[in-house]
Amino acid sequence: MSVAPLLELRALTVSFGGLTAVDGLDLHVDEHEIVSIIGPNGAGKTTLFNLITGVSRPDSGDILLDGKSLLGLPPHKITQRGVARTFQTLRLFLNMTVKENVMAAQYGRTRATILEQMLQLPRARREEREVQAFAAEKLSFFGERLMGYRWDQPAYSLSYANRRRLEIARATATRPRILLLDEPAAGMNPVETHEIAELIGKLRDEGGYTILLIEHDMHVVEGISDRVVALDHGVRIAEGSFEAVATDPRVVEAYLGTTATATK
């Protein structure tokens, strides 16, 4: 049985001013899979996310979602097709309330024109109710962490860990088919990291999302990944289960330098 992968990258290449950030990368993510991308800093991981979400354009290669190319689409169209992301450096709408953050992300899923909103015509009112309900549903997914009274507080009043959670909630509110999480555990303490890892698993198991993950924390990667891809200098150097990739000499070399292989 061969099911077409949900997301597929074909020979993706991009360079910035002579530096090849992503070099002929092939990658696929199947439905309901959690794929982790690891690699040292500067390996091209975030660049890869920027390419998939349309922030930068590849020099060559193709990006397919469900067999349809995403190339040349503006970022918001790609998101509306079903690709949502979080940012490594948090980019919440800080001065909007928690709930508004999640509601704003549903813009692409609503259709009422500005005239309908001005006159509060039936469609605008119905959509507004749906947006409210859906936002509540998405926030409830995070348990009591983002519950109740916090919804009406501005996002800047949240703790760092809760901001990370809110970013994920906001991304899920776009009704994505695939979630791209850029270092969701960065800057968190071990307890919070553990919670995030559980949450990502829950997102797949209960939420039904497919997840492409960039993560430095190997505990997170180890616990939840179906498959791990290691990048270095924009090239895929290993792929497979966590154990296989983590012990691959090329990966060790990429992280620790050549001396590591020499002493091995």
Binding site: F16, G17, T46, F49, N50, V55, S56, F87, Q88, T89
Partner: protein
């Protein structure tokens, strides 16, 4: 009408005169545009007040020349007289520029992006109205036509291809100033620091660069160039008024955008381009269209090459 037009098109001497004229106008725009582009480079701020610094520069030059007896009885020969006007205006404008940065922009370093922009508009308007208050709204004249029997406006050249001394002064001093600026930016430590700050202020400050000082130096240099441009305008086109900074500033601004904002070479080229486009439109069509032509140029660049002539595509940090 069309007969005159045809005559103008085939008259090479007219063309040459217009060309020189355009380069002179372009020099002024380029000098102002450098200030916009440098400030944008380090602060990512559109400094709307810059055009009014240029206006103040023109006034300072006027005061110096008049204090020294110009135009009818200058107390010293032409060259030191002009040098003194330039120097005073450049120093005065640097002080003004640094003060604007210190008191109006620096408190807003961490404010939302729109805040310093609105402040800049406020500063621009404040300078304009202060000039009206202090010096009156009526135009003044450098009257350099009368200076030493119009010595500045005699022409040199061969045959019918003539160029006025004053145009030579403008073009040559612009070239000199630009060379000096390039040397400063590319050869000195402070220049290197400027380039570092324009790439990434945070990283630069971590490398031990005093970002505040670099920004102050940027304002100082940009404003000094604007001051020089103000005096140039005065000696070539005579007239100055408190509102002159608005229009000239806007054109220079567009020159900076067309050349690639943030790029020093781009500002020079953009200034020339805008100056030539404007002069040729006035010379061959009608002065009513010069703004429209410049505007179309801006729109065309924005639609088809938003990064300007020299600007490289800006990397968005994610």
């Amino acid at each position: 009408m069309s007969g005159v037009l045809a005559f103008q098109f085939y008259n090479w001497h007219y063309f040459f005169a217009e060309l020189v004229n355009g380069v002179a106008v372009g020099s002024v725009y380029a000098l102002i545009a450098l200030g916009y582009t440098m400030v944008y480079g380090v602060l990512k701020l559109l400094n709307f007040a810059h055009g009014d610094v240029y206006m103040v520069g023109a006034y300072i030059g006027w005061f110096v020349l008049n204090a020294l007896g110009s135009p009818l009885a200058p107390v010293m020969p032409l060259v030191p007289l002009l040098l003194l006007a330039f120097a005073a205006s450049m120093v005065g404008c640097s002080v003004l520029g640094v003060m604007i940065e210190r008191f109006a922009y620096r408190p807003l370093r961490k404010a939302p992006r729109i805040a310093p922009l609105i402040t800049a508009i406020g500063v621009s308007f404040f300078l304009e109205q202060t000039a009206v208050l202090l010096w009156g709204a009526n135009p003044r004249s450098y009257n350099t036509f009368s200076l030493r029997n119009g010595e500045l406006f005699t022409s040199v050249g061969f045959g019918n291809l003539r160029i006025q001394y004053v145009q030579l002064v403008v073009i040559l001093s612009t070239v000199a100033l630009m060379l000096a600026l390039s040397l400063f930016v590319w050869r000195t430590r402070t220049g290197k620091a400027m380039r570092a700050v324009s790439v990434d202020p945070e990283a630069a400050s971590m490398m031990g660069i005093d970002v505040d000082r670099v920004i102050a130096v940027t304002f100082l240099l940009g404003s000094a160039l604007a001051g020089a441009a103000g005096v140039m305008t005065g000696i070539v086109y005579q007239q100055l008024n408190p509102y002159m900074g608005f229009g000239a500033g806007l054109k220079a601004f567009i020159a900076a955008v067309v050349g690639g904002i943030g790029n020093i070479g781009g500002a020079m080229l953009g200034g020339m381009l805008i100056g030539l486009a404007e002069t040729f439109t006035v010379g061959y069509l009608s002065s009513a269209f010069s703004d429209l032509i410049v505007f179309s140029l801006l729109v065309v660049f924005m639609l088809f090459r938003a990064t300007g002539i020299f600007g490289s595509p800006v990397l968005q940090k994610v």
